[in-house]
């Protein structure tokens, strides 16, 4: 909450006096606008986000999140590139002409997403806290609903916090024109909705190491089951000469189990410098093992201004069933996806956030990030020499936010 100096005094004394003050009941607002754009006219997202928080005298917190995203741009369909021009029909019935030698993308992709979440965090007694929430989001072809709950206990003079939580989600896949049958030929009948359920169990440890350092370690186990395909993704069957003979809908296993270990260290080097380092390691039974390493340093520039540069590195193994395409001389496997998000790749992000305060003591921040995804491409066929099934891309993220 940004308050004038007089308001601060009124608030802090009213809190002490046990008087319910109108100030103490005020909401703290955070609004932000964000743009995400990928190179080559691929995915573009414009977002508006709002976070409202209210804390009472006992430190119980209510927070409300709401967001609107507009998504558009071209998205790779999983169809293999070829030196022959291709004509495809997108799931929504649009005809897509792909010139020879280009990566097939669906450029009719357009969606809007509405999301909302409410979280209530409450102290039970001096040691125990409890936090529960509900989440919701809706796109034209997707509905997500979720609930979560965490209990935490502080120990050791509040220097240690242990927490355990559970997240449950139920998502409806409401694909345009219905969901396709996995492995069926492109253009086959699509029908009906489907759903998936996710469960995530989380154990956490936060430890104050010294006056200057605090460490966090989280482990989570997640399990998702149900319809896990992307209803708009295909894979191609290609002859050794590089001719695409057919395109079929992808097929993924209907269960995915994963383990994630996350560690972070916040270190205050001096009064003006705070460093945050984190490492996230993920392993799952699809084989998409990944590692994320992130480092940011916040420099206080004085006068309520600060700058925080950051770098992030990500690497991922391909899913066991990922194949950029299937050779026409091989049989079609039970599980196959050519989705570039399941391929092996590395990604690099560099960015910075600048924060400042205006005359009315509102805290503003502007941040920019540059992201580069570099896939590891495998040779296709001799007839596709020089073509890439996964070209990789660059993306820029710009956002402006204010707390008031």
């Amino acid at each position: 909450m940004q308050l004038s100096t007089w308001q601060q005094l009124t608030l802090v004394t009213a809190t002490l006096a046990g008087v319910s003050s109108t100030q103490a009941a005020e909401w703290e607002h955070d609004a932000a606008t964000l743009y995400y754009g990928e190179s080559d006219g691929r995915v573009q997202v414009g977002s508006l986000k709002y976070l409202g928080k209210r804390e009472n005298d006992q430190g119980d917190k209510l927070s409300i999140n709401a967001g609107v995203d507009a998504l558009t741009g071209a998205s790779p369909m999983g169809v293999a590139p070829s030196y022959n021009a291709q004509t495809l029909t997108s799931p929504s019935g649009n005809t897509i002409n792909i010139p020879a030698g280009q990566l097939p993308v669906d450029d009719h992709f357009k969606d809007a997403r509405l999301s909302a979440a409410v979280q209530w965090d409450k102290g039970i007694n001096e040691q125990w806290r409890h936090s529960s929430g509900v989440t919701f989001s809706k796109e034209h072809d997707y509905l997500h609903t979720g609930v979560n709950s965490t209990v935490s206990r502080s120990l050791n003079n509040k220097n240690t916090t242990l927490s355990a939580g559970l997240d449950l989600a139920h998502d409806q896949v409401q694909a345009i024109n219905g969901k396709p049958t996995p492995l069926s030929l492109a253009g086959s009948t699509r029908a009906g909705d489907d759903s998936k359920r996710s469960t995530e169990a989380l154990l956490g440890l936060t430890q104050v190491l010294s006056k200057r350092a605090i460490a966090q370690l989280n482990y989570s186990y997640s399990q998702t089951s149900g319809y896990l395909n992307d209803p708009y993704k295909y894979f191609s069957v290609v002859t050794p000469a590089g001719i695409v003979t057919e395109n079929r809908y992808e097929s993924r296993p209907d269960v995915r189990k994963g383990h994630t270990l996350y560690g972070a260290l916040k270190f205050k080097a001096n009064d003006k410098t705070v460093s945050t380092s984190s490492l996230r390691w993920h392993k799952d039974d699809w084989g998409t093992n990944s590692l994320t390493a992130e480092q940011s340093i916040r420099f206080d520039l004085g006068n309520q201004r600060s700058i925080e540069p950051s770098i992030r590195y990500y690497q991922q193994k391909a899913a066991d069933f990922y194949k950029p395409q299937v050779s026409s001389i091989d049989s079609i496997p039970a599980y196959i996806s050519a989705d570039y998000r399941l391929a092996r790749f590395k990604a690099y992000t560099v960015g910075a956030t600048y924060r400042w305060q205006d005359r009315k003591e509102r805290e503003w921040r502007i941040s920019g990030e540059y992201y580069q995804q570099k896939p590891v491409n495998t040779e296709l066929t001799a007839g596709q020499a020089g073509l890439k099934a996964n070209s990789g891309f660059d993306a820029a993220v710009v956002s402006l936010g204010v707390k008031f």
Partner: protein, 277 residues
């Protein structure tokens, strides 16, 4: 607390009721006094002081008091500082009147400064050797707590006076303002002016009775935490009315630090005030 305390109750209540409330409020005052006493080695405050240089876990009440100390430090731009109590041994406001030397003060200055403390909801840390003193806040806070507890017990028309720090649980039973006599700063025990207080709190910061005079210069007991020196040429007394006693006390203390600009400062606060020079 070593100062006269008084509870006014309206309308007339049974003796037993009044006595039970008095005991209840006295208990609260003693609780706060013991918790934040510098003299009792097992008090929460003493524990924090003994653990200087280390993290100390704190409860919500202590956090709120320390947050208050922090806001006062910010508002005074560092001149009011709850870590300035280390200066006490070199400033002696009784006979014989001698001033500390600059060397004595310079030696202690590194141990003063709220910028060297860290405060979170559950933890407080200050550098080794620093000392915390909440003496400047405790009495006003205790008065507010008493008013709050009286109100909770259903006493809507109650005034608490802890040695000049006043808090009320509400307006008077006849809806008239309470009448508060402000002591004459130059004549102990005499009323200078009687002022109305509808509800809320009132506090006075005075320099008339605790000071030293050296070479014709009058040094008040109010120290500037930035320089370590006692302030001179201050108003004799500043009384402020506010929605609660803690705020009134904070404003009168902050105004005192402004010296001859006290009036200007108090006007900005928009609270009623009375200054004696």
């Amino acid at each position: 607390m070593a100062s006269p305390c008084l509870v006014l109750l309206e309308p007339a209540v049974e003796f037993e009721q009044a006595q039970s409330l008095m005991e209840y409020l006295a208990q609260e005052v003693f609780r706060i006094q013991q918790k934040y006493s510098r003299y009792q080695t097992d008090s929460v405050l003493s524990q924090i002081n003994q653990k200087s240089g280390q993290n100390t876990a704190i409860d919500t009440e202590t956090y709120q008091l320390l947050q208050m100390a922090q806001v006062l430090w910010q508002l005074s731009k560092g001149r009011f500082d709850c870590t300035s109590g280390v200066l006490r041994p070199v400033w002696r406001f009784h006979e014989p009147s001698t001033l500390p030397t600059q060397e004595q003060i310079d030696e202690l200055l590194p141990l003063i400064g709220w910028q060297q403390v860290e405060l979170t909801h559950s933890m407080f840390t200050m550098h080794k050797g620093m000392q915390l003193d909440l003496g400047g806040l405790g009495k006003e806070y205790a008065a507010d707590r008493c008013a709050y507890l009286a109100r909770e017990r259903g006493f809507q028309h109650c005034l608490i006076n802890l040695g000049g720090d006043i808090a009320t649980s509400g307006i008077r039973a006849n809806h008239e303002p309470w009448q508060i006599g402000i002591e004459n700063a130059n004549e102990r025990g005499q009323v200078w002016q009687t002022v109305p207080l509808l509800q809320g709190g009132m506090a006075t910061s005075g320099t008339s009775f605790r000071f030293i005079e050296v070479a014709g210069k009058r040094y008040s007991h109010i120290l500037d935490a930035l320089t370590g020196w006692a302030l001179t040429d201050l108003p004799r007394s500043i009384t402020v009315a506010a929605p609660n006693c803690t705020e009134a006390g904070a404003l009168s203390t902050l105004a005192m630090l402004q010296g001859d600009k006290a009036d200007e400062f108090l006007q900005q606060s928009t609270r009623p005030y009375w200054v004696q020079w």
